[in-house]
Amino acid sequence: MTELDRTGDRSPVPADWTYAPAPESRDIVRLRERYGLFVGGEWLEPSETYETISPASEEPLAIVAQATAEDVDRAVGAAREAFANGWSSLPGSERAKYLFRIARILQERAREFAVLESLNGGKPIKESRDVDLPLAAAHFFYYAGWADKLEYAFPNRRPKPVGVAGQIIPWNFPLLMLAWKIAPALACGNTVVLKPAETTPLTALLFCDVLRQAELPAGVVNIVTGDGRTGAALVEHEGVDKIAFTGSTEVGKAIQRQLAGSGKKLTLELGGKAANIVFDDCALDQAVEGIVNGIYFNQGHVCCAGSRLFVQESICEPVVDKLKRRLETLRVGDPLDKNTDVGAINSAMQLEKIRELVDSGREEGAEIYQPPCRLPEKGYWFAPTVFTNVAQSYRIAQEEIFGPVLSVLTFRTPEEAVEKANNTPYGLSAGVWTEKGSRILWMAQQLRAGVVWANTYNRFDPTSPFGGYKESGFGREGGLHGLEPYLRFDE
């Protein structure tokens, strides 16, 4: 802080206005030293364990279970029993009561969950507080509403629950993805075995507390933590009727291969390399905001992140100038600080992957820009990055980076924008920035992407279905469409 000269007639210009740290208090979260497996409403002592850390400081947070195949078997057994012993035959309006309860408890304990989400995952508290938690609660509220209306959602098709759902979720939105998975499954009368991501198990484990508070019958939701081996055991298990997976395309393909011929239902929500398309008639400053939100939201750990920016060539220069300037104001640092815009990279492994791809971008000849920012010494960090002069053939324009790295490409006509945007093995999402309503509709028809945002980006709502084309997966989550994977129809 610059000391000001108060006597002079002309006030001096301060060098800068540094915001004092404004950390959200950690005291609200009471973590246990060890967590077991939540099976049949009880905590089971695990045979193997590992340590989960805070990616912002590498500080150990708790010891959690590495569930083995036997552990998974017990969890599936508990889920099967709960399914048979009443949950599946409970009237929809009764199931809804539990879901409403869970939603309300999540709202009441929102701050606690938000702090833990940021602590264990590295995302800025303003995002876990304003996005993850409200949306997670909204999902439970929304699907609670469907629980007793399934007959109306699918008239004359007699919907019935599938059975035991095995659900495997990623580390980028741990609690929100849990909500996306559990809420529709329970609303439809299924029971669940859920495996949180290896690096972010804590909010799912705290969620077990919510389930108890809501007095959900034992075994309806079981949570087993662990790495890929636990996930594989869950996928393989004979007693599982449906697998829902959100994660990498590579693992998704392996799951699909494994399940072929097994009769198990499957939905996959995989990677993406979304095109964010900016036309020259857009509202410029708001488009720049949208570009920033599209790629730096949650450190770019978003499957639908707008990682390929297509700018109409006539406005490329002002857009890139404005973008670089905006990047300078992004505050990178302590995820628990309320003023932090970009938090920590989720894991050492992910940081390594981002670095490798960024190096390849440099080598292939793209021009790199990173704003001056001081990154903390401990923990996993990567500065917000923009690549200009990117060609469609570069790896950074083709592969999913899953980090705060944007590739800028240009186009001349709407047709060219569509052609380039669709020229990817993925098809999860896209963004269109233009003041022309007719062009928005035309683009939405042409783009092969599950979600097309117009003049906004990364906006989610439980009523809106979400899912991909091509290598981004299949099946939809959210909305009426999100019920279907959790139902079977006897016709």
């Binding site: 006030s11 301060p14 206005w17 915001y19 404004a22 509202a283 309320k338 906004t456």
Partner: protein
């Protein structure tokens, strides 16, 4: 706010060779960005800095038919020394009054460094012939004002007579000479952010040293999205031409918290360079006491009742 109709053909911004394109403003995204900046958490020393800056950039204002020399003299004393019990509190930037009260303020503020701003051009409506407006400005200058706050002709603007709005700004600027000219857009009457942006660029093209949101007579006045919209236009002008135009938020800012939010908006849109009374002003009256209360709380750790701060 709704989206504005397209600009009539032939609408060109004159004067500067390379003013930014007028473009458009997306209301939803603008309001979202303003709301997200309003959530910045400003604490401890950074809060004290902001509160003191708010005082240093305040145009302490009284614009009532009932204004008297006595009332204005009291306000002048307040502007020079906002908190008599704490000499470390900085003075305000200016006093803002009707032209008739300029001599009183002038006399009282002599040598204090606090400027005297006069509203003119048929404030607050601006519904007067141009020559009256220019005469109004001339007389305010003769009476000793060292800053002029003019209003644009919203009737002309809203009926698409942009040239009239522009010409008036040019003529008032001529009448001001070297004196700082603030152009009030009265954004509460413009209806859309697109209009706010156009009017901002129009005023800047006409020669405004400052663009100002409102008269304080109309609600809504200086909302955060309106301020952001105008700041972004100022940023574009600076990027294109290098010219630094000031910004004044006036009307509806009553609490210290709002003032800090406005300062955050400027800081993160235009940078620290704009955080000076030369380029930034807050037009307010009741705001000052709330700032003083907050400052004393930061310094002593406890709040004091309103009776410990003077009402002027």
């Amino acid at each position: 706010m709704a989206q504005a109709p397209a600009l009539p053909a032939g609408f060109e911004l004159p004067l500067e060779p390379r003013l930014p394109r007028i473009g458009s403003v997306d209301a939803v995204a603008l309001e979202e960005r303003a709301a997200s900046l309003a959530k910045r958490s400003i604490k401890r020393e950074s809060k004290v800095f902001a509160l003191e800056l708010a005082i240093r950039t305040t145009d302490l204002t009284t614009l009532e038919g009932a204004d008297t020399p006595g009332k204005v003299a009291a306000l002048c004393s307040k502007a020079m020394r906002p908190d008599p019990s704490d000499p470390s509190i900085p003075r305000c930037a200016a006093i803002c009054v009707y032209p008739n009260l300029v001599p009183t303020a002038r006399e009282r503020l002599e040598g204090s460094g606090v400027h005297v701003a006069a509203v003119a051009t048929g404030f607050p409506s601006g519904q007067y012939p141009t020559h009256i407006k220019v005469a109004d400005v001339r007389s305010a200058v003769e009476l000793g004002a060292d800053e002029i706050d003019m209003v644009i002709d919203r009737g002309a603007f809203l009926s698409g007579r942009y040239a009239k709005v522009y010409d008036e700004v040019v003529r008032v600027k001529e009448a001001c000479g070297d004196i700082r000219l603030k152009v009030i857009l009265e954004t509460g009457e413009l209806g859309t952010y697109d209009n706010v942006r156009r009017a901002t660029l129009l005023a800047i093209a006409g020669g405004a040293d400052f663009v100002k949101t409102s008269t304080g007579k109309i609600s809504p006045a200086a909302t955060l999205p309106v301020a952001l919209c105008m700041l972004e236009a100022i940023r574009d002008v600076h990027a294109e031409t290098g010219r630094r135009v000031g910004f004044k938020a006036a009307g509806g800012i009553r609490q210290a918290k709002q003032a800090v939010q406005h300062l955050v908006l400027v800081h993160e849109t235009l940078g620290a360079e704009w955080l000076t009374p030369e380029l930034y002003r807050l037009g307010a009256s009741s705001l000052l006491n709330d700032i003083l209360m907050q400052l004393r709380k930061e310094k002593t750790g406890v709040y004091q009742g309103p009776d410990y701060f003077t009402l002027d």
